[in-house]
């Protein structure tokens, strides 16, 4: 069984600060982490390896610093790690990124056929969720997004049963293998890395690929040239203003509850309740 996991090193967006004078993001000092969904994708791949034998390859496109993220994946149990790093890959949108990853996977599977390709459902910096599906299209693989569970996996019969979360519930799908899954965190809980993995990771150096070698990439399809979209404006959204404040001690419980019902009603969530609002409806 050979699973390939594509990961991304991202800034920890919960620690992003805004420069109040320029209104721009302050990226310095923001810790870089593995995209949280991707950690679970790696874990899922490692679980399958433990059960069926085989290998886990992780790959990423990013700056040289992204090697750290790959080494963390080796700690988790990945066997091989590839960093695609080159200025020519830079400023790629999702279309160009999916080309680079798909092209790399093609090169990997030429030597070592792939049974399963895993992605996090989206990266927390871009939040697009478009790269995984794009890679599935380029490699002509069955695509299952928002996967929450692999119920059955049969590398011999080359089928899997996968649960996928949609608005209405859980869709249970049977797919042919190889397939591409983008995963939610529930796909696999993170275990503790065993000592031999840590020892191996301490010495491990990811393979470095650039735009020319060992695999030549089409210069027209990578980086800015390969990206149809451009960001023309970026701005910080107006911060959520603190709203109204009412105190039980000052106004009394009844007045506070009345106010709450009034505001909740105005928010439009009580539609199914025929007469939810107090008399002072429309006071605003």
């Amino acid at each position: 069984m050979h699973a390939v996991v594509a990961i991304k090193q991202v800034p920890d967006t919960s620690n992003v600060r805004i420069n109040p004078e320029t209104g721009t993001l302050i990226r310095e000092g923001v810790p870089a982490i593995i995209n949280p969904y991707d950690v679970h994708a790696v874990e899922m791949a490692v679980r399958l390896k433990e059960r069926f034998g085989g290998r886990v390859t992780v790959l990423t496109m990013g700056p040289p610093k992204a090697a750290e993220a790959l080494i963390e994946c080796v700690e988790q149990g990945a066997d091989r790690a590839i960093l695609m790093t080159d200025r020519r890959f830079g400023a790629a949108d999702t279309l160009a990124t999916s080309y680079v990853i798909a092209h790399a996977v093609q090169a990997i599977q030429a030597d070592d056929p792939v049974d399963l390709l895993l992605f996090g459902k989206q990266a927390i910096d871009g939040d697009t969720g478009q790269v995984g599906p794009g890679v599935a299209v380029r490699l002509n693989l069955p695509l299952i997004t928002y996967a929450v569970q692999i119920e059955a996996f049969d590398p011999v019969a080359r089928t899997a049963i996968v649960h996928r979360r949609i608005e209405r519930g859980i869709e249970v799908l049977e797919t042919a293998l190889p397939a591409l899954l983008t995963v939610e965190k529930e796909i696999a809980a993170i275990g503790r890395a065993p000592l031999p993995n840590l020892v191996r990771a301490a010495r491990y150096q990811p393979e470095i690929w650039d735009a020319a070698a060992p695999v030549p990439f089409d210069a027209a399809k990578i980086g800015i040239k390969g990206s149809p979209t451009v960001v023309v404006k970026a701005y910080t959204p107006p911060p959520r203003e603190p709203g109204e404040r009412v105190g039980v001690a000052e106004l009394g419980l009844a007045a506070v509850i009345n106010r709450a019902l009034d505001r909740i009603g105005a928010a439009g969530v009580l539609a199914e309740h025929p007469e939810p609002l107090p008399e002072n409806r429309g006071a605003e």
Partner: protein, 342 residues
């Protein structure tokens, strides 16, 4: 590609998302917006068209006309009865290559995001995800799609300059639903699917309807509690309020860490990001990791004894008080109908 007269009109396309004949309302929101974009485009020959796929979904076309489509491209086939990426993406991509729409809008739902990415890659064009605002740039006459990024910390406006169509997936419930035009009608253009069941590598075995309590990401009302609940008994109170509001229970991380409740109820950076119409934060102080998970809520009601709690910085209504006093009274009033109890 040859361009016949068909390709001359400037088309704004909208996907009508349906499952089992039920149309997702984002489809109508997008048709309303497509009509507005058509007027913002400096051209007399802009048409708004709807794309409808499924099995036995023909009657939906009439609804699409009422919401502003002048034409519906319909592919009706048993293979399309249940959404699957491959047949939907392949068939729609073929329509795109034939008719070359200028703009193509799809709802940013689980189905829409899955499908839009595949279409954009197949036709090799630009797709902007999860947009919250769409305009036509008056000078360039191209779509300016604005979306939140960096966990909602930054808004980005994105152009797709030369490739067509300019694609965007758009968040539900952000754009207004247009008033339907009762008399409107239009043309239905049928196309064959051209894909057999054997060519589809994925099969749906079953659908497990979501227990309401676990569908946090898509809930309209989320009632969440934190350390201020005091103990596991506080969860019962939370569940009662959630029932009274027709909502779902969420919690902040400390409750999961303490083992009171399973991790799939956790809201925040390491849990789930929610986008309800109403978010109730009861006894949650509101650390930044929690706030980023709820900042997209339409309305936040916070209840906390500590007037300094950071949750009040983002609450639309903050109640300084003891949740054990406030919530039971709130439940009582909701159940009775507030008009009688006040």
């Amino acid at each position: 590609m040859r361009t016949g007269p068909e390709a001359e009109a400037r088309r704004v396309w909208v996907l009508i998302e349906q499952e089992e004949g039920m149309v997702h309302p984002v489809s109508w929101e997008l048709l309303g917006t497509a009509r507005r974009l058509a007027t913002e485009l400096d051209s007399a020959s802009v048409v708004v068209e709807a794309i409808l796929l499924g099995h036995a979904v023909g009657p939906i076309a009439q609804e699409a006309f009422r919401y502003g489509a002048s034409r519906v491209h319909l592919i009706d086939d048993p293979v399309l009865a249940v959404y699957r990426n491959l047949p939907y993406a392949a068939a729609i991509s073929r329509l795109v290559r034939t008719y070359r729409p200028e703009i193509f809008l799809i709802g940013a739902t689980a189905l829409g995001r899955d499908l839009a990415s595949a279409i954009a890659t197949r036709v090799e064009t630009g797709l902007t995800a999860d947009c919250t605002e769409l305009r036509i740039d008056p000078k360039l006459q191209i779509l300016a799609a604005t979306r939140p990024t960096f966990g909602g910390n930054l808004m980005a406006t994105i152009h797709c300059r030369t490739d067509r169509p300019q694609m965007a997936s758009v968040r539900p419930r952000v754009l207004p639903v247009p008033e339907p035009l009762p008399q409107a009608t239009g043309a239905v253009v049928r196309a064959p699917l051209g894909i057999s069941e054997e060519e589809v590598p994925v099969r749906r075995l079953r659908l497990i309807p979501a227990p309401r309590r676990l569908n946090l990401e898509h809930a309209d009302v989320v009632v969440a509690g934190g350390r201020g609940l005091g103990g596991p008994d506080g969860l019962t109170l939370l569940e009662e309020l959630a029932d009274a509001l027709g909502g779902v229970v969420g919690v902040s991380r400390p409750l999961v860490d303490a083992g009171w409740i399973a991790a799939d109820h956790q809201v925040g950076q390491t849990g789930k990001t929610v986008r309800p119409k109403l978010y109730v934060a009861a006894g949650i102080s509101g650390a930044v990791q929690h706030r980023v998970g709820v900042s997209n809520a339409d309305f936040i009601l916070a209840i906390n004894t500590d007037p300094q709690a950071p949750i009040f910085q983002i609450a639309d209504l903050g109640i300084v008080g003891d949740l054990h006093e406030v919530i039971p009274e709130l439940i009582k009033q909701l159940r009775e109908g507030a008009g009688h109890g006040a």
